[in-house]
Symmetry: C2
Subunit: 204 residues, 2 copies
Amino acid sequence: MDKPTKPRSTRIQREKRELILEAALEVFAQHGFRGATIDQIAEAAGMSKPNLLYYFKSKEAIFVTLIDRLMEAWLAPLREMDADGDPITEIRSYIRRKIEMARDFPRESRLFANEILQGAPRILPLLEGELKELVDEKAEIIRQWIRQGRLKKTDPHHFIFAIWATTQHYADFDVQVRAVLGPDKGGEGRFEDAAAFLERLFLG
Amino acid sequence: MDKPTKPRSTRIQREKRELILEAALEVFAQHGFRGATIDQIAEAAGMSKPNLLYYFKSKEAIFVTLIDRLMEAWLAPLREMDADGDPITEIRSYIRRKIEMARDFPRESRLFANEILQGAPRILPLLEGELKELVDEKAEIIRQWIRQGRLKKTDPHHFIFAIWATTQHYADFDVQVRAVLGPDKGGEGRFEDAAAFLERLFLG
DNA sequence: GCAATTTTTGACCGTTTGGACAAACGTTAG
DNA sequence: CTAACGTTTGTCCAAACGGTCAAAAATTGC
């Protein structure tokens, strides 16, 4: 018994599946689930449609795989918020991480936004279960910080919503942000400006 | 010359077009442009597909009409921000109006969000033109208020972005908001709570 | 080198979709 | 009644779509 009984999926298989997921992320983020076609994803992945369907049994299967992975990364920053840390530092770090995600993973953010906009048909149970529990837990921590006089009084749930909304805005509404800021202020520095602004807004 | 030379469009025509636009708003907001079908819209409007196409020449035409109207209503609240008014009052009113729009016109908000998410293919010129000018103008007013010491120092553009993001969040991400708040706190009072929270956040 | 297995592809299928069209229907004015 | 006009519908079509399948091609294990 040197190895487990499931040596399935070769290195090549894993690589191809990864390639497809990368291409699908691009296409889904830009056109949404219904707007994206298997042909588009296949072309973006540099393979034929039947070939793609050899690795994923349906368009839905690709999407679900993508969004399942996404959720892990999505909740991670909030998970890191530590009750034993300094409130200001913890919240500042959280905002930083969220802005970095908007900058570095805008496609993931848009994919998520798309799913929620359509009524979260595939992840509603997760939102009502895991996400709600996590948020309630962190809200309790914030409430505790407030009781201890270490944080300005505020509604914890709406506080978290506001951080989500403002940070993700820079990924989801990026086109609008750049259009309004114009060529001058719309450069890559906008994420730094946003981070600085948001820290002041939420902690100042 | 009792009447102008263009008596076109009877009352019935206007009513039917209105009926279609109402149905289309519902369908587009829920499924996005690509996800919506003419049949769905026709059924929601209580008429046959060819009949619908008698009033609008294409799916695109319906969408464009809808989004053109929407933009008017969308910019109105910001337009009302008055340089001669009291800064705190003006900003508070703006936030109130935006939250009311999220509560009373969530479908319009989602339609707009959808368009931006897809890269704003149909309204990019408007964003770079009319919207940018309006925001720049109001940003200058805010900057003026700050110079006069009547408002806390802050980046006007990101300040406006933050108001947009947080208020629209309650329409666009409504499913998530309700899932996280749960049955108890997720009732109709959530918009009031949000308004109160946001006033504190932005003005407190 | 060769058989077994995995990967890739061209051709194909049923369904859905946006849209066209002519015929039918209804309404109104003379 | 009827001609003219606006409205409605059944039928049809071509393209796009998600997905299948058998066979070819490439790879792997021996």
